[in-house]
Symmetry: C2
């Protein structure tokens, strides 16, 4: 029996139909001219989605977490000071990943559910090599102001590279890497881009690439080597160097998903996510539920809501899944049992999904 | 227009139809009970394919090359002596990856096209921490005797861990990790297992896991952390800990591919690969072509053949691709222009594919 789910947790989301169909097309080899065209198109569409002209913009052959690892492993020289804004699980993870790369990590801790405080991040160290922050914290549903962080770094005359986690933001809310002064950023395919998990869209600017680690600790994620096959190779039109076998089915699927997103238009996609998220958040509050993320910093694509007193959070999730085929997420970290996470990402950012999840939750909670 | 290819290079191969269909099934979340069942089944089927009872047997969320990285990054402590048998590109790559993990690498160089010399490998160092070798060298089409290497290490009373690359062997020729004394091994999905590229089947035994690096340089490939979600977690039936978002579509596809392989039966699958490879190699020699790999060590699933004098190797490959939709591979490294690589892997290890590629090559070479 085939199970069909409404994937309304923190990701993966239900892929766009175009992305699913592409997975099942006849497979191409990773050096086939036809596949290289698809790869180059994919990189070009990723540039549009990232808001960048970086030649080194590519899908890494692993999930979003490997994007985080690639970002640090290619830019952290042992002993480098890395300031990490921590306002959730993924900021925490950055401190672990950076430390394994030999960084001297300066963590700027925030209360979960609140956005990054730009002033505190800037004051944390006089001359960091890297400042890192999460744009959309998947653990808390909070948006931080990366544009302001980038502007403040420039105003300060900082030499620090700005490294950004955009796993849950890309394709859902505005991302403008070049305008914001982002030097390195990574994302995932399985959230607002509406593609299955398995690839990490990645971009790195010239300044960061020049300061990169020549022989990073990871061979697999070595951007200097990867660039011979993809990204800059496509832009330069030169000879391709084999590095590893690209996951061709997944890349074809990302290609189809990006084409769908850009066909709709980024402004329209962002507006659709905003409308769906606002409707969901209003509906939850109408039901008497309380939102977790600080007002003014709530992500439309990922809503965190407090579990009401006396309710078994796991039982509600299980009933939603078994009765309605709806997956929502538990909270993260210390909030595992006190928060739910409801995602309206990619294909699911639409009115029928909003009314569905509200109605189902109302029923299961007995608030009908 | 959809291009259909006969993928008869060094991989990817054409996936089994069951594996392709599974890619396009409705997506499941990585914490869905239904998906966890699929993941556990996948790990269990991988144990059968590996010939192991290792609880830590799992598909890593990246391609085969990341499997190599995971093998070294989790087992090499800085300063460890790692003896690497190098008889092709992937043995070479092992020396690079091991060195990045801080190993003192002792490379035992062999002439390409020849199998690993067990005596030379054993004599290379009196007490290495790890001995590493490639079972089926994708760059040369050579099979090395891992069973003999494992037996010799045991006979010597060596404490060294045996680390094996089985990317091109698994699902195509006999692999018996436990019987052979293999401690750590990795593979790819896109060769004889008949699944698209994107995952690295991996196994590690108790002895190697106990000697592992507690906090490896890679967070993404940290087996201690991964084990909380997959592999041992499935065996122990305990609580799952979120690590990263598993590529659920790819895992579902691997599940379907493995089910197909085990339904046919490993002995039958190996026999099918052997028959196809022998028929191809005989046919190529009948055509007056010379094989590259040493006689007695030729892989059935990947045949290397010398480019005849006066023939433009790239032009032949291009004509096969454009005229017949057949992809074969160029040679690797120094043999890029003097060798072709023809794979008959997974679905393609069958008589109709043999006659097709022989007839097409005969036509293009004008040896009709």
């Amino acid at each position: 029996m085939i199970r069909e789910r409404h994937l309304l947790g923190p990701g993966p989301s239900n892929p766009y139909p175009e992305a699913t169909s592409a997975l099942a097309q006849p497979l191409l080899g990773h050096l086939d001219p036809e596949f290289l065209r698809i790869m180059d198109d994919t990189c070009e569409m990723l540039r549009t989605v990232w808001g960048t002209t970086n030649s080194r913009t590519l899908p890494l052959s692993a999930t979003g977490s490997a994007g985080m690892e690639a970002a640090f492993v290619n830019t952290v020289h042992p002993g480098d000071v890395v300031v990490v804004a921590v306002n959730g699980l993924f900021g925490q993870r950055m401190t672990d990943v950076a430390a394994r790369c030999g960084a001297e990590v300066v963590a700027v801790e925030h209360e979960w559910g609140h956005p990054v405080d730009v002033d505190r991040v800037l004051a944390a160290h006089p001359a960091p090599a890297i400042v890192a922050a999460v744009h959309a914290e998947t653990s808390t549903g909070v948006r931080s102001d990366v544009a302001a962080l980038g502007a403040a770094l420039r105003a300060q005359g900082s030499e620090a590279l700005l490294l950004v986690d955009a796993v849950t933001s890309i394709g859902g809310i505005e991302v403008r890497a070049d305008d914001w002064g982002v030097d390195v950023a990574y994302a995932g395919t399985q959230k607002c881009l509406g593609v299955a998990p398995g690839l990490a869209p990645f971009t790195i600017g010239e300044r960061a690439f020049e300061r990169r680690v020549e022989e990073p600790r990871s061979w697999y994620l070595d951007l200097g080597m990867l660039g011979g096959y993809v990204g800059e190779a496509g832009v330069q039109g030169g000879q391709r160097t084999y590095h590893h076998t690209a996951p061709t089915a997944m890349v074809a699927s990302l290609h189809a998903g990006l084409a769908r997103v850009l066909d709709e238009g980024l402004d329209a996609v962002w507006a659709r996510h905003r409308a769906a998220g606002e409707a969901l958040q209003a509906g939850l509050q109408d039901m008497g539920l309380e939102l977790f993320a600080a007002e003014g910093s709530r992500l439309p694509q990922l809503t965190t809501v407090k579990v009401p007193d006396g309710v078994d959070p796991a039982a509600v999730r299980r009933e939603l899944l078994e009765r309605h085929g709806i997956e929502i997420g538990a909270g993260a970290g210390a909030y595992a049992a006190s928060v739910w996470r409801i995602g309206l990402m990619g294909r699911n950012a639409r009115p029928d999904t909003v009314v569905l999840v509200l109605a189902a939750l109302r029923e299961v909670l007995g608030r009908g």
